[in-house]
Amino acid sequence: MQPQFSRRTFLQGCTGFAAAAALRGFGITHLRFDADRHPSRAAPNSPEQPPTNRDLLVLVFVRGGLDGLNLVVPFNTSSADRQRYYSTLRPTLSVPAPNANATRKAVDLDGRFGLHPDAARGAGGVATPNGHASDSGGLYALFERGDLAIVEACGSPDITGSHFDTELYVDLGGKQNQGGWLARYLDAAGEPHDALAVAPQWGVPPSLLSQTGRSAVAVPDPEHFGPQWRTREWTAHEDASALIAAQRALLEPMFQRGGDFIEAVGQSALQNYDMLRHVLETTYTPAAVYLTDESHVADYGDFGHSLQTVAQIAKSSLSNPLRVATIDVGGGYDTHDNQGLLDWNGNSRYPRLVANLANNIKAFCDDMNADPVWRGRFVVVVLSEFGRVLYQNDSGGTDHGAGNVMLVAGSHGNIRGGHIYGEWPGLTNFGFNDGLHITTDYRRVLADILTARMGIASPQINDTIFPGLNYASGLGIGVAR
């Protein structure tokens, strides 16, 4: 029944480069990359909620190159670093140390690193301008309760100065691969062909590009999925649903005339619509407040809405439960100029970018934790294609760099949070492109989670998911099931 997609045979026939060239830049489709502002499968109470032997994995890809240095601030990693960061590298783009005589300053994590204060909005003692109902401590609260691990100086060995090349190589899990690593994870885990993988956005990123005929679902948001909602908008026709049904009866056989990409996606769209429509047409009341106000974020609230959609689908008791979700975050992370730092009254670009990530990840964790079924059963991983140059440029921004932080958020002890992992390379030597030296391959962090929490054995990492990684051991972030 499940057709083989043309892209499978097609991509296999191409050179890796031909495939890569075709896919390049497509992960950021529909993403506000550098904009500043501006038959029913529902089976309630199925025993497979969530799948028994693995957590739900939510991959958050910050597209554009997050300035991790100002998110997790190395205020006291060494006296040389301190001098470099505050005086030489970032004279006007550095977050004051926790003990500085300043209202807005870093929030101490471990005596060495501190969080940008907008990653700790609402935490006790943290000045929080432009307050919002979603300010509940952000990443700081997660870290303090052991639900957030931070990994320093991560990156890809395939890094180039190009967003588009590097993003694609990360999506593929290595530049020599021709399909997405998340899709290969589903293969390795032995998930059924129709296992639910959702990109709660306009398009599906290459990490879910399958070479084995899987089809991920793009769900822009609950109200914008399927033909019904729009029908209500374009006509007052009292019999609109009958009309749609009649059209579907004409279209569905056409989608079955061929088994190739166009037809196969059409078939799976209709199947997934049947499964998800009852979920998405139901009003969802999250158990935590997401941050989607345009007065606070620069992506029109897309990220918060997307995470909320993930929670809504996850909690909906589908007999085919959500296995993985991935979200591309945009809104201006490519901060070449006028990056902003701490100010909410003037140039608030960077504070908005940080608040969007921090408040919404916290909200998602709280929302999911409110459902006992999901407590301890989900992991959120945040990564970006590269960090930024260690020093600021003359236009108040930072250019493309190298090493960067990764974040792993968990729940009720499924990860060892409250620690900063990874080998800190220091700020006294420049890595690639004058960025931070890369000391941890981002795939080791992912492999750590996959082996500890997602039912994957180590050999499957090297054989299937990340061929060539030579993965031997993780960082100890995931708590083995």
Partner: protein
């Protein structure tokens, strides 16, 4: 060798070469184009389309000139030919009226661009405008995009490549979009310099066939930095109307007055003598003449016109395009001609699908519609008004002049076909039929409509109507079972049933054909 890479043969018959040409070099045929497609000569068609100045487009120009440019606050948006000063004056007036000048300028440019795609006889030119708009992507984060469309993109869309990138390098919209306007010689901003080489000209890795193809870097990171220094001082800063100027002086952002050298993948370094603006001109000359640029542009044009995977499907067409580019020193017409007349073009059915812009306009053209939606009015109360269609376009992800990554929008099917597209195109087809042929309401599901009756040549039998629709939208035979199902539905079981605009199943069947998988191929 390449046949195994053909992704698919779409179900149903293949279209004629004429139909393929209308789909790929334009936005699909209009009903009035159909009679002339019987005697089709590809070479003559391409040459006529390339000789764009000789095409009488007065009717389309008159429609554009007659568009209502009154913005929601009652201020008049300047015409697309506006100068920087006129755009500035509009911004001031719109701001004072409490309006959103960038959004209004963008919406009028949508209307103009969609209207030209719908009505212009210069179809290939419009496709090339879209191509370069994406190749040299900027957006309405700056209102200066409005100026760039007319004075840079349209000015050079079928001109010379060196002139095009030269104009782009000095385009205020580009100077802002890729930050070069802030680039100071002492510590330059590398954003534009990098994308100029990576995206606009050379590509990151050599595109010249042979050893090093897609593996040998075209430039080093040092080259990026040096190029940024060379281009420092190319700015709008300090200009009253935000026009380009070269800042030779000491004030920020000033030029880096040093002699320089770059590697650029060659055997020996390239020297840039001590100088100012001429260093940047020299760099643009070198990039425009670089062989990798010729192959990269030819590759992208082949991807646009022939296949999602040109390296695999049509390397000979890339070669032909690149050779034309090199021998003509960047003549865009010669390059496009070599690619479109390469035999792989005619053999490329099934290699491309429509993107939402082509789909939207293509449906309208197949319907014979002559009116374009004016996107400027703030008409939220109109259920089938401009704002509604703007939302539809946004849902489909191809809002023109909005994409914020400098790559421009993708041009491969994986980016443009997923569950969201399946439903979005289906809904859009219903909406367009209702908008132009009378809405289907609770009171009247099939209002009499003269335009619709003319479109189907009513009265006609269900069979005649379906065959006419299939010819308008597809021009090729579909699976007989699908055709029979359409006839059976429309005639409610009677293939000879008389159909008019008052037949309640007519509008739904038109939209179903427009939304069908058959109609997604370009």
């Amino acid at each position: 060798m390449m046949t195994g890479l053909t992704p698919s043969t779409p179900p149903g018959a293949a279209p004629s070469l004429a139909r393929l040409a209308y789909n790929r070099m334009g936005f699909g045929p209009r009903p009035e184009d159909l009679p002339g497609m019987g005697s089709f000569d590809l070479t003559a068609f391409v040459d006529a389309q390339l000789e764009v100045e000789a095409i009488d487009d007065a009717a389309c120009d008159a429609v554009i000139a007659g568009l209502d440019r009154t913005d929601p606050q009652g201020v008049t948006v300047p015409p697309p030919t506006a100068t920087l000063a006129e755009i500035q004056a509009y911004r001031t007036a719109s701001d004072a009226a409490g309006g959103w000048p960038n959004g209004n300028l963008q919406r009028h440019l949508w209307t103009v661009t969609y209207a030209r795609a719908l009505l212009s006889k210069r179809q290939l030119f419009e496709v090339m405008v879209d191509f370069w708009t994406n190749h040299l992507q900027t957006n309405f984060h700056s209102p200066l995009k409005y100026w760039e469309d007319h004075h840079v993109i349209r000015q050079h869309a079928l001109g010379n490549f060196r002139d095009l990138i030269g104009a782009s390098a000095k385009s205020p919209s580009m100077l802002y979009f890729l930050s070069n306007t802030y680039s100071d010689g002492a510590n330059p901003n590398e954003n534009y310099a990098r994308e100029l080489m990576e995206l606009h000209t050379l590509g990151s890795y050599s595109r010249v066939p042979g050893a090093g193809f897609l593996t040998k870097p075209n430039y080093s990171e040092t080259d990026v930095h040096t190029a940024a220094q060379i281009l420092s001082g190319w700015t709008t800063m300090g200009s009253p109307d935000e026009a380009y100027h070269f800042n030779a002086g000491r004030n920020w952002p000033s030029h880096h007055w040093q002699e320089k050298q770059m590697w650029l993948g060659g055997d020996r370094p390239i020297f840039f003598p001590y100088g100012g603006e001429e260093q940047g001109e020299q760099l643009l000359d070198i990039l425009a003449e670089h062989p990798s640029t010729a192959y990269f542009i030819a590759f992208k044009l082949c991807r646009r016109f022939i296949s999602d995977f040109p390296d695999a499907f049509c390397p000979d067409a890339i070669e032909a395009g690149a050779q034309a580019f090199l021998t003509s020193h960047g003549d865009i017409r010669a390059t496009v001609r070599a690619i479109l007349l390469h035999p792989t073009f005619a053999a490329s059915w099934g290699q491309k699908i429509k993107r939402p812009f082509e789909y939207f306009v293509g449906v309208q053209r197949a319907l014979g519609v002559t009116e374009m939606i004016n996107f400027l009015p703030d008409d939220w109360d109109d259920a089938l008004g401009a704002r509604f269609f703007e939302q539809q376009i946004e849902m489909l992800g191809q809002k023109l002049f909005e994409f914020s990554a400098p790559t421009g929008l993708p041009d491969v099917r994986f980016a443009w076909w997923n569950s969201n597209q399946v439903f979005g195109r289906w809904s859009l087809a219903n909406a367009l039929v209702s908008r132009f042929f009378g809405d289907q309401t609770a009171a009247n599901a099939a209002p009499a409509n003269a335009a619709l009756d003319a479109f189907i040549a009513a009265p006609a039998t269900a069979t005649q109507v379906i065959d006419r629709l299939l010819n308008n939208f597809l021009g090729r035979a579909i699976d007989p079972g699908d055709r029979n199902a359409l006839i059976n539905y429309l005639g409610a079981g009677n293939a000879q049933a008389a159909i008019t605009s008052t037949s309640p199943r007519l509008r739904p069947v038109i939209a179903a054909i427009a939304a069908s998988p058959y109609a997604q191929w370009r």
